[in-house]
Amino acid sequence: MKRARPEPVQVVKQRRDRALKTIVDGVPYAQFLGIEFERHGDELTAVLPFDEKLIGNPILPALHGGATAAFLEMTAIIELSWSTVWEDLEAGRIDIAKLDRSHLPRLPKTIDFTVDYLRSGLPRDAYARARVNRSGRRYASVHVEGWQDNRSRLFAQATGHFLMPQRDG
């Protein structure tokens, strides 16, 4: 039996990066906060580069709790959206050539979101990763961890429930 040749690495990367960019670029508030996503295989790391406008306490100074909450919620939504797109993307069910927002599922909607502030956010870049604990046809539960200098010293974590977009057909 002859195996099919694997796809060239550039083709694979382009497809995945393009799909991720299409999801992220579709969220104006992610642009406003300056959130970027780094991808290694299917693993996403959200990056919130430091900016003065993210400050909540100018005396300390510390990141605004609202900026932290928004960063974690954004990470959860993009991860959830990405994880649902991934399978179709890798199975070749998504035509990369005409990929835009309208060809992707709608974004999940937040039902509730709980942020646990562990230490104050320092005036420097922040990172976050989300883990989808359960993703059903209608509901999903996601946990997010946020850190700055040390991966093991979280500055905030969050859990949220989301309503999944209804698929066609």
Binding site: Q31, K53, L54, G56, A62, L107, K109, V115, Y117, S120
Partner: protein
Amino acid sequence: MTDRKTLIAKQFIQTLPHSVALGMELVEIGDGVAVIRMPYDKRLVGDPETGVIHGGAVSALMDTCGGAAVMSHPTKASGTATLDLRIDYMRPATPGQTITARAECYNMTRSIAFVRATATDEDTERPVAAATGAFTLERQS
């Protein structure tokens, strides 16, 4: 005294760069209650297909409002930070409308303030979101 407190609280909002960036305006404050509004802004949209404001921006509004309520409580707090904040999103805010949050500091211990808040758009009968939070208290001593 109350006027001075109001002034301090108003300045408190104005000195929070993130709250200023989101266009928040203080409507009312005093005795552990704060009302803050956030006009509609396209940059804060979460889903461009619907034009609905991102939940994260509503979180920031709730968080700021909660902190302001704590600072305005008669037991003088010299500073506060959010320990925990839970937000329930009840319905999408109507695109184009200002979102107004009202936070109330309903219990204070020596070191913690418990806050609840609701957010509405122009339809004030049906809340857009509700929040409960715990805030740390720093006291002058």
